[in-house]
């Protein structure tokens, strides 16, 4: 099982009347990749998945499978496996009959069918549930049946529409791991849709971030997290402090950025003196400075809010020029019991923050 396929979207657009649900989206999914389309509700991610599956006809653009155009093909001709939101298992069939469905449709002999069904149920560890009906299974088991049914006919691609959204948090984490292992084992191309950024980052090789029907940024999860291209990406993938300033001076690859009366040292590839810049600074990149410690950037402020998160503390520190900064500290590194009004010195290196484009979206 390793015939992985590549998929490309070229200028995909879907309009409903005057509303543009998907606006000129182009992207490539390489063979065997796990791509996640991530975005808030209404970002067009599900419409893109439905267009790939063939349930939504694009208004413009093309969908290519291994370079061959499949845009006009109806869903039943595309040979894609799909895990639906809410699973869409056939309630009047047993687990085995659900898995047999795509094979029966293809006219496969019973003996061959049974072999395939058994192998796939083994793959998702559900062999002992073959004769149960979906209503007799737990949510996690139903999810695995849906996955097995989507994989049993060895589809070209596996499409997942918010596959884990109906499960509770603990089960979700478990199934995330399973899904990842499964992807590695069978080596097929997976395309997943979710609004959960943690799920997207932990599952995928590549994440495509969408907003208002547009592709905002695509890349590996760590690249997106560390180097968000826009304010929206920075805010959507985890938390971020936004600092708006003006370039006061350039020194090679770094710049002096003035924010009110404070001047920051920031690694900056582009931008000339006088330009405004927006910086995204992750809460965990800010360090607490002890007496005598220094950093490239240093500010002072007092704690206005804090919360204990078990593994760490989350603090909000009010500063004069940078506004309120949020930072997270691992519990073992917090040398004090946080309290409101406590004055702290914060520091971060010149490459901690990332310059982002201001797209007006939080």
């Amino acid at each position: 099982m390793s015939q992985a396929h590549a998929l490309s979207l070229v200028g995909l657009t879907k309009r409903y009347g005057s509303f543009t649900a998907v606006n000129d989206v182009s992207l490539d999914v390489a063979q065997g990749q796990f791509l996640t389309l991530l975005g808030p509700s209404g970002s067009g991610k599900t419409t893109i998945l439905m267009a790939i599956a063939g349930f939504v006809a694009p208004s413009a653009g093309a969908i290519l499978l291994d370079g061959r155009e499949i845009t006009p093909l109806p869903p039943e001709k595309r040979d894609f496996g799909m895990v639906f939101q809410g699973y869409a298992l056939f309630p009047h069939m047993t687990v085995a009959e659900n898995l047999a469905f795509p094979l029966r449709v293809r006219g496969m002999e019973r003996a061959e069918r049974d072999t395939k069904i058994r192998a796939t149920l083994d793959l998702v560890q559900l062999s002992q549930f073959a004769e149960r009906r979906p209503s007799q299974l737990s949510g996690g088991q139903q999810q695995r049946v849906a996955l097995a049914r989507a994989l049993v006919f060895e589809p070209n691609l596996l499409l997942l529409d918010e596959p884990l959204s109906a499960l509770d948090k603990k089960l979700r984490a478990e199934l995330q791991d399973e899904l990842k292992t499964l992807h590695r084992r069978i080596g097929r191309t997976f395309i997943n849709v979710t609004h959960d950024q943690e799920e997207a980052m932990s599952l995928s090789d590549t994440v495509a971030i969408l907003n208002h029907g547009k592709l905002i940024q695509i890349g590996a999860p760590d690249a997106l997290y560390d180097r968000p291209r826009t304010r929206f990406v920075a805010g959507f993938l985890g938390k971020s402090n936004m600092i708006s300033g003006r370039i006061a001076e350039r020194i090679g690859a770094t710049a002096r950025v003035s924010v009110g009366a404070t001047t920051l040292t920031q690694r900056l590839a582009t931008g000339a003196t006088g330009d405004t810049v927006l910086l995204s600074l992750r809460p965990e990149r800010i360090a607490l400075l002890g007496d005598g410690e220094t950093a490239e950037n240093m500010v002072e402020g007092h704690v206005s809010a804090w919360s204990y998160l078990g593994a760490g503390h989350s603090l909000t520190v009010e500063t004069t020029d940078l506004g309120s900064l949020r930072l997270t500290l691992p519990t073992w590194r917090a040398p004090f019991a946080p309290a409101e009004g406590l004055t702290l010195r914060l520091g971060w290196p010149s490459d901690a923050a990332a310059p982002v484009e201001d797209d007006g979206d939080e």
Binding site: A53, G54, F55, P74, P75, E76, K77, D79, F80, G81, M82, F84, Q85, G86, A88, F90, P91, H92, F101, P102, R104, V105, R106, R149, A150, F153
Partner: protein, 262 residues
């Protein structure tokens, strides 16, 4: 609702009166069917099965039962096929036009059947369908469609459209999806519709009086004629049989619904 306050004596009395008012005229035929008299009356000297015997040995009555059953079966088939296809079509297209169409399909239920019968009489005459088996089957079949449209539409409204998408996504053609996914899911609705369409044809009299002339004699028609000609207690026997059949069909429908909801 359990654990609430019970009804007061007034409400209780009223409810029972309503029940008796509804049920008494139906149950009165049961003792009448066991009468030992030669005319339609309550038993006087004892119970007798002579009219039951008369029914199963009387060629005209048996022929009426046979014709009624035949007409009911064929017209039910017609109503089920047309009604199911209409309901599925409206459901799949699902726009304003189909909403209107669905309302239009209910017309035979809303319009008084005598109006319908007059209309049928006019144009069945031109089509040479008066007094034919086909004519009665068409009339009963078409007026049975609303029952099927209603029950199948109800079944479809609880059908998850993603099941259809899932089937199509796995490569199933439209007809495979229909046979293996949609029809099994809405089968209880179809069965309910079939039962109602059958009952509708089984006890329909007005249209038969208009369009069947003398050659087609259904069971209700035979009872009607009997009342007018001689008050033969065999009619009470037939009435009991009609009640038993209708009740058992309704119980069957109830059982099917229970199974679907389980």
């Amino acid at each position: 609702m359990t654990g609430g306050y019970g009804p007061g004596p007034f409400a209780r009395t009223l409810a029972w009166m309503a029940v008796i008012y509804l049920v008494l005229p139906i149950t009165i035929v049961i003792p009448v069917s066991f009468t030992d008299q030669r005319f339609l009356s309550l038993p006087r000297d004892g119970l007798s099965l002579r009219h039951y015997e008369n029914l199963i040995t009387s060629a005209p009555w048996l022929s009426a039962i046979g014709q009624s059953a035949m007409i009911a079966v064929v017209s039910t088939l017609l109503a089920v096929i047309a009604g199911t296809l209409c309901a599925i079509g409206c459901w799949r297209i699902g726009n304003r036009t189909t909403e209107w169409l669905r309302a239009l399909m209910l017309l035979p239920l809303i319009i008084p059947s005598i109006v319908y019968a007059v209309g049928l009489y006019r144009y069945f005459g031109a089509l040479d369908l008066l007094g034919t088996f086909l004519g009665v089957v068409l009339a009963h079949g078409v007026t049975g469609i609303p029952y099927v449209v209603i029950t199948v539409s109800a079944a479809l409204s609880s059908f998850d459209p993603r099941l259809e998408q899932a089937a199509r996504g796995m490569g199933a053609s439209l007809s495979q999806t229909l046979r293996w996914v949609i029809l099994p899911r809405i089968a209880p609705g179809i069965a309910s519709g079939a039962i109602f369409a059958f009952i509708h044809s089984w006890d329909e009299l007005v249209m038969v009086l208009f369009i069947a002339s003398r050659s087609i004699v259904t069971l209700p028609r035979k009872i009607w004629d009997g009342i007018n000609e001689n008050a033969d207690p065999t009619m009470a026997v037939v009435a009991v049989l009609l009640i038993v059949l209708t009740l058992s069909l309704l119980l069957l429908d109830g059982a099917l619904r229970k199974r679907r909801d389980a």
